[in-house]
């Protein structure tokens, strides 16, 4: 966990942090889906939309768990990363217009692993019993997500022969 990562001093803080992590993940996958749509890679559009939907479900679950508490508003106050990014944010800089579903799932796996590590560390440092309880649940959730990514990666192996060697529209200055 980076030094600037938000701290969960209370249960509502942890709800807010977990919410923000998922909300950021939704934003990133949606951006990536839009990018792939603009660059005519329909298979990746579907993959990133599905990933965004999955993170959205998790985000909404967190809201439901928090009951009437306005998690989004609280997240705006306490769940801010001022130096790094929240752990489940996919790396936009790693995107490429010819990327494959396997590449996308590798990106998702890395994000889920960062989230798992984050919540594990938070659990290890938590003092409040309620925070510990929720952190443990979140660790279990993220463990499940990591396992899901591994299963999906088996279903979508790297393309035989790797990524297409010939870019059909190479940048002129590298031609």
């Amino acid at each position: 966990m980076s030094a600037d990562a938000p701290r969960a001093a209370s249960l509502v803080d942890l709800y807010a942090i977990a919410y923000q992590i998922e909300a950021d993940a939704v934003e990133r996958y949606t951006m990536l889906a839009d990018q792939m749509e603009m660059h005519n890679n329909p298979a990746l559009v579907d993959v990133f939309r599905d990933l965004a939907r999955a993170e959205g479900i998790h985000r909404d679950q967190i809201c439901r768990m928090a009951g009437d508490f306005d998690v989004a508003a609280h997240a705006h106050k306490v769940a801010r990363w001022r130096i790094g990014e929240s752990p489940e944010s996919a790396d936009l800089g790693a995107a490429q217009y010819l990327m494959t579903p396997h590449d996308a799932l590798q990106m998702a796996l890395a994000a889920e692993q960062r989230a798992l590590e984050f919540f594990r560390e938070l659990l290890g440092n938590a003092v409040d019993a309620d925070v510990r309880h929720l952190a443990a649940e979140l660790v279990e959730e993220e463990t499940g997500h990591v396992a899901l990514c591994h299963r999906l990666l088996l279903r979508y192996p790297p393309p035989a022969g790797g990524r297409p060697a010939g870019d059909p529209d190479p940048p002129a200055s590298q031609a």
Binding site: Q35, M38, W81, G93, Q96, Y97, P171, S173, Q174
Partner: protein, 277 residues
């Protein structure tokens, strides 16, 4: 500064429905995120913000934002923005440009905008290449960068925008990296709040024509010293750094440009005379 506190907006409130057409992996996506986060942090509402740009990949940014925007003439964004700020000082005016638009076609405007010190924030997304037009060398391209369009490289010494900004009178100078959108947003907030002309160079990789720039994320680092208010010292530092020092490098204290107070026209006949050529 022209920012005012208002009912809170979220970063997403500053995004338009237009989907960016930048290449996947382009650093400009992160800069767009940094803009929206910075405006949310500043508490300025979309109708209190104007983003002005010139031409190039980075200059597409006003289309992707939900605020006032002006996607203008190549290299002339600073002229438009200065005029806008002078007649609408209540607006937060941010100018977006790239190294081609800002340092080549708009190079002269850059010098004089620094000198005039109008209360603007100038953000240049620098990728050391003309990306939109397929990879010609820009003023910041390394002299030995070898491509089919410039075999063997240009052999020309690169432009040093930070030093030029300092020498020309910019009142705030910073360098950011697009891959750190949270830090970039923080720098933008500071730049907007600082009175006068603020210049923020954002290293923003072009993954299509400069795939080598994907490695920038491993090269950037925080500047080892705090910002100074001594322009000469700041210039010496940036002349000798490795080009990857990030953070606020200079905070000046020149008063921002204030137009001479003109006589307010309250009479229609007088206004009509003003229109006479």
């Amino acid at each position: 500064m022209s920012a005012t506190l208002a009912p809170a907006c979220r970063p997403a409130d500053y995004r338009s429905a237009v989907k960016p057409i930048w290449c996947p992996g382009c650093g400009d996506y992160h800069v767009l995120m940094a803009f929206t986060r910075a405006f949310a942090e500043l508490g300025v509402r979309p109708e209190q913000v104007a983003v002005v740009s010139g031409i190039g990949c980075s200059s597409r940014i006003p289309a992707y934002m939900n605020c006032y925007g002006f996607h203008g003439v190549h290299g002339r964004s600073l002229a438009v923005a200065a005029g806008l700020k002078i007649v609408r000082p209540d607006l937060t005016v941010v100018v977006a440009s790239g190294d081609g638009d800002g340092y080549s076609i708009g190079g002269n405007h850059f010098l004089h905008a620094c000198r005039r010190n109008v209360d603007l924030t100038y953000v240049v997304m620098d990728n050391h290449i003309y990306g939109m037009t397929k990879g010609q060398p820009s003023p910041t391209t390394e002299p030995d960068f070898d491509t089919a369009l410039a075999p063997g490289g240009t052999g020309v010494r690169p432009f040093h925008p930070l030093v030029i900004a300092l020498a020309s009178g910019a009142n705030f100078v910073a360098r950011a990296f697009s891959g750190n959108p949270a830090e970039t947003a923080g720098i933008l907030v500071e730049a907007v709040r600082h009175p006068g002309f603020s210049f923020v160079e954002v290293l923003s990789p072009c993954v299509t024509y400069r795939p080598d720039q994907r490695a920038w994320k491993d090269r950037v680092h925080r500047a080892p010293v705090d910002a100074t208010d001594d322009a000469a010292r700041a210039a010496r530092r940036v002349m000798t750094d490795d080009g990857f020092n990030l953070g606020v490098l200079y905070r000046g204290n020149r008063p921002p440009y204030a137009p001479p107070a003109g006589k307010a026209i309250t009479d229609l006949a007088e206004l009509e005379r003003e229109f006479e050529l």
